[in-house]
């Protein structure tokens, strides 16, 4: 380094490097300038100056200098290394890898560069490269533990587990017998457990268990030891030993569901293989005996409810529920709600709880018991029933139960939260938000109910109050950006969706892209662990983390955010925001005097904004300089409302970016391919649209949306002009070749296919709606017929266990979609109105259909909130005065005094 310089300057150069490492950038800069005065073309100095400037937030100068330095000294590994570091700081890892490789070409054994390169290769999953680099590092420094471990992990990641084992054993061979010393025991034990998990992964089960037992004394984590042992025993088919070990584990933690599952597997009673009635009896007996052993375990009581049936289930669930209702466990319903997916169990539960309710009302105790229950038991029973009826879609009963519970004990917050949820399900988001706010006010120190309230407000499109409520719990108080820093994704998604509903695409995009950014950050966050985990030997956790990162983008929140962003871009493409030219045009229509005023106003506003931005930048740069090297103030967001996001040149190109991620990470989601269809049809990418249609048919050919895409696609193709160019001809020939393989269209035209689809799904509203819409697409003159298809649909009672229940089949969400279809697509306001009137009867609480019990109606309970006169002050403040009316909690008249 710094060769080719005279001694004085060479020393100065060393000072630059030292200053950079100790973050004394100003000092380094000064030294660099001194050298450059004498040797203005010295490449390495120019590079180092650039790197220093990069840390002082002078990016563009940095790149300029580093590139110039490299140009002046292409043969310097320092210049290449610096260039790589610069790219790395900007997260341009691919470019950085290239630079490091060039540096290594000049100085192949430079350990620092090799180490940096290996980190990047792990980050980018360049696994063959990672193995190579790790091998090189090991051969250069074989006495470093980390190099052995790194080499083994590299092989493991590169899917060569047995090689990894070999390396670890070779490493063990270098150790003394009395290894490890006391302060290394944990690390060494972790390494052994990692090795054994590798053996298990490669299928060397016998060796794994042998090794495990041999090294028992050296493994510190005894619980993992046992769990690893039992996993191997089960895989080896040694079920009796496995069962014993699982019982031992249960005595350590009798609430671990995995132990129970494992034990069931070992005794041959696992639900996977289907259970006969004698199996169920055996299981029942097993859990009864375990239950006597572990009286405090709740898992041992809860699990049998999953496999018991009929009368036995009835008895077990009765025994399970009673003490929990007595105790008052608010989560009881969530605990039992998976049982609602088991046939028949919901009915048993309903009957049972109604019996309990009845008995509590009559005698104050449970049926068959002389003892009286505490008064709260009735309230918790009503609470459970409300959630039960909510789950079954009987919202009116649910509401009457929850109201009774609130009447009974108006101070229990959970009651209000559940009432809010019922109202939301019934279609009244505004009332749901009000109730959630009431719940929130009852405990201002509870973040959970605060968040729940924010969510409800966003669902009701009350973004401003949601924001205000959300920041009550952020650190910086008024700074709403803090939610972004905390990666509060549920909030960003809900608020993005609300903006989207309200047509504010800029803000919606802003929120959706913020979530996307969090995922990029999470990917980024793994970087530090590549070196940290090797050093700390947390290898099993490290590898698990890498695997998690590999499927990070298949997470539901990412899916939602990407889908939301794509929808925004599609909408933007369909109705682009006003361009500058259009605005000019509008302006020219104004009378000249007004135009002048407008212009002046605009200019003033611009000037003001500019000034403010400058001031802010100055402030932030000032604080940067003062404590350079430390965390600097974040720059102010120049586009808080996402207006710039709306000005993308090609919205579909942007959409495609996110679409690709969805296709890669959520290939089995219908929505992915529906979006792909919409985007590619607009881009006129015929073959990609066809691909989407084929994926839809593969996933669910009977889905109404799949049908829509299929028909729309071939209808569109049918209306295209004959191919002219070679590309078009090629596309055409692919279509010719593919069409016969689509069974829906086999020897049928689209109208026939549409009819067949109709016959198949006559009874379903959404299928009928799809057929009607396609009928209209294919034959626009048959609009009346299409509308009739929809209006002739009947809303039958939904069957429950073969009998007809009190709830009808149609879902609120579907009916809203049909209403939009009638209004916007089929363009028949009268039909839409008829539909609305009809649905208002099915959904009396729905604000969308203005049902009579919804808060949208002037005479509903919920709309009276604002109208009651304030009568708080009275002549005798201390309990002397009777007010004009009696308020009752939770009934929404009481809302006005909620402003705390």
């Amino acid at each position: 380094m710094g060769a080719s310089l005279p001694p004085k300057e060479a020393n100065l150069f060393k000072l630059i490097v030292k200053s950079y490492e100790s973050k004394q950038y100003k000092k380094g800069l000064k030294a660099a300038d001194t050298i450059l005065k004498k040797f203005p073309d010295h490449g390495e100095t120019l590079s180092m100056k650039g790197l220093t400037l990069n840390c002082m937030d002078r990016k563009s100068e940095a790149y300029e200098l580093v590139r110039l330095g490299l140009k002046n000294d292409l043969k310097s590994h320092v210049c290449w290394h610096v260039y790589g570091l610069l790219y790395r700081s900007d997260r341009e890892y691919r470019e950085a890898i290239k630079c490091y490789r060039n540096a290594l070409r000049i100085d192949p054994d430079n350990i620092e560069i090799l180490r940096d390169l290996s980190l990047l290769q792990a980050q980018m999953r360049d696994l063959t490269g990672f193995v190579e680099t790790r091998q090189k590092l090991l051969s250069l420094k074989p006495n470093h533990r980390m190099n052995w471990i790194g080499f083994a992990v590299a092989h493991h990641l590169n899917s060569d587990g047995s090689k990894a084992v070999e390396i670890l054993e070779a490493y063990e061979g270098t150790l003394d017998d009395d290894y490890p010393p006391d302060n290394e025991r944990c690390e060494h034990g972790e390494m052994l457990l990692y090795k054994i998990s590798l053996l298990e992964e490669c299928g060397s089960l016998e060796r794994a268990i042998e090794e495990l037992r041999k090294k028992e004394s050296k493994i510190v984590d005894k619980l993992t030891y046992k769990e690893q042992e039992v996993s191997l025993l089960v895989k080896l088919g040694r079920h009796e030993e496995g069962a014993e070990l699982y019982k031992a584990l249960l005595s350590i933690n009798p609430d671990n569901y995995r132990y129970y599952e494992g034990l069931q597997k070992c005794v041959g009673l696992h639900a996977e293989n289907g259970l006969s009635s004698s199996d169920i009896d055996q299981l029942d007996a097993l859990y009864k005996s375990l239950g006597q052993q572990y009286t405090w375990s709740s898992a041992v009581k809860r699990i049998p409810l999953d496999f018991l049936q009929g009368e036995k289930f009835h008895e077990a669930v009765d025994n399970y529920i009673r003490p929990l209702l007595t105790k008052g466990v608010p989560s009881l319903f969530s605990d039992l709600s998976p049982l609602y997916d088991h046939p028949g169990k919901a009915d048993i539960l309903e009957k049972l709880i109604l019996e309990l309710e009845h008995s509590l009302r009559i005698s104050g105790g449970y049926p068959g018991r002389a003892e009286k229950e505490p008064p709260s038991t009735l309230m918790w029973t009503l609470f459970f029933l409300a959630q039960h009826y909510d789950r079954r879609g009987q919202y009116d009963v649910a509401l009457s139960k929850i109201d009774e519970a609130i009447e009974h004990t108006p101070t229990v917050i959970d009651l209000y939260s559940v009432k809010s949820r019922i109202l939301k399900h019934a279609g009244d988001s505004a009332a749901a938000a009000t109730l959630a706010d009431e719940a929130r006010c009852m405990d201002l120190a509870d973040r959970y109910i605060n968040s729940e309230c924010v969510k409800r407000m966003l669902q009701a499109d009350q973004v401003a109050s949601a924001e205000k409520t959300a920041v009550l719990f952020t650190k910086d108080g008024d700074q709403h950006n803090n939610l972004h820093d905390m990666q509060c994704m549920w909030y960003e998604l809900a608020s993005g969706e609300s903006y989207f509903r309200q047509g504010d695409l800029g803000r919606a995009l802003k929120k959706f892209l913020a979530v996307e950014k969090h995922y990029a950050d999470i990917t980024e966050d793994q970087f530090d662990f590549h070196s940290y985990c090797l050093r700390k030997m947390t290898l099993r956790a490290y590898v698990a983390m890498l695997k998690f990162q590999d499927r990070l983008h298949s997470h539901a929140y990412f899916h939602k955010a990407a889908a939301g962003a794509i929808r925004c871009y599609i909408k933007l493409f369909d109705s682009p925001s006003k361009s500058m030219a259009e605005e000019e045009e509008e302006m020219s229509k104004l009378p000249p005097s007004q135009r002048k005023k407008m212009r002046q106003k605009q200019k003033k506003a611009e000037a003001r904004a500019k000034k403010e931005a400058e001031v802010r930048n100055e402030e932030s740069s000032a604080s940067n300089v003062s404590k350079s090297g430390k965390r600097h103030v974040k720059p102010v967001d120049p586009d808080p409302n996402g207006e710039k996001l709306l000005q993308v040149e090609d919205p579909l190109l942007e959409a495609t970016k996110y679409l690709k991620l969805l296709q890669k990470h959520s290939p089995n989601s219908l929505e992915t391919h529906l979006l792909s269809f919409e985007v590619n049809m607009r881009k006129k990418k015929i073959l990609l649209a066809l691909q989407a249609v084929k994926q839809l048919l593969r996933l669910d050919a009977e889905n109404p949306d799949s049908h829509r895409c299929l028909v729309r696609f071939f209808h569109k193709v049918g209306t295209m002009t004959a191919p002219v160019t070679d590309t078009e001809k090629l596309v055409w020939s692919v279509l010719e070749a593919e069409r016969p393989f689509i069974s829906q269209l086999h020897e049928k035209n689209l109208t026939e296919a549409n009819k067949i689809f109709f016959e198949k799904h006559k009874g379903s509203l959404m299928h009928r709606a799809a057929v009607a819409e396609m009928l209209f697409v294919l034959e626009p003159n048959k609009k009346r017929e299409a509308i009739k298809l929809i209006e002739d649909s009947t809303n039958n009672p939904a069957p429950i266990n073969g009998a007809l229940g009190p709830v009808k089949e149609w879902k609120l969400k579907d009916c809203i979609a049909v209403h939009k279809l009638l209004g916007a697509v089929l363009d028949d306001p009268d039909a839409a109105l008829r539909w609305k009137v009809r649905c208002a009867q099915y959904f009396p609480c729905s604000t969308y259909f203005e049902g009579e019990r919804s808060s949208a109606m002037p005479n509903s309970v919920y709309s009276q909130i604002a109208k009651k006169p304030e009568n708080g002050d009275s002549s005798h403040p201390e309990g002397g005065n009777i007010a004009d009316f009696v308020t009752s909690n939770g009934k929404l008249e009481a809302f006005k005094d909620l402003t705390v």
Partner: protein, 162 residues
Amino acid sequence: MGAGREVSISLDGVRDKNVMQLKKLNTALFPVRYNDKYYADALASGDFTKLAYYSDICVGSIACRLEKKEGGGLRVYIMTLGVLAPYRGLGIGTKLLNHVIDLCSKQNISEMYLHVQTNNEDAISFYKKFGFEITDTIQNYYTNITPPDCYLLTKFITETKN
């Protein structure tokens, strides 16, 4: 199970974070809408205002105001004392009132008083059990309920130990 076991009753103070609990109770218990001064007094009285919890459910409260007596010293005015209907007869009211009486004797406060409607016999006999006596009758104290008259109930606390 639980029915046989004693359910624990505990007291907790009123703060601005949970004052809504007190409001909810008052809405359910009394035909009166209390004004801001009531809540300010209650918060200011510190330990003299308490919420009662039955297991983890807030079911009752006592709210007091501390008043300066002429010639120095403090007296306690009980603004409200109430327990939700389903939870009455479990000793919760007694626990609340005893708490305040104990506090008074600890702090050498010698007088506590309250108003009660003349026909509210249950309340009168309840307070008498704790040594309250009718010391006055105020005609037409209430404006909207009959009878409009109320009694003044007072308890004088003689210093127990010293």
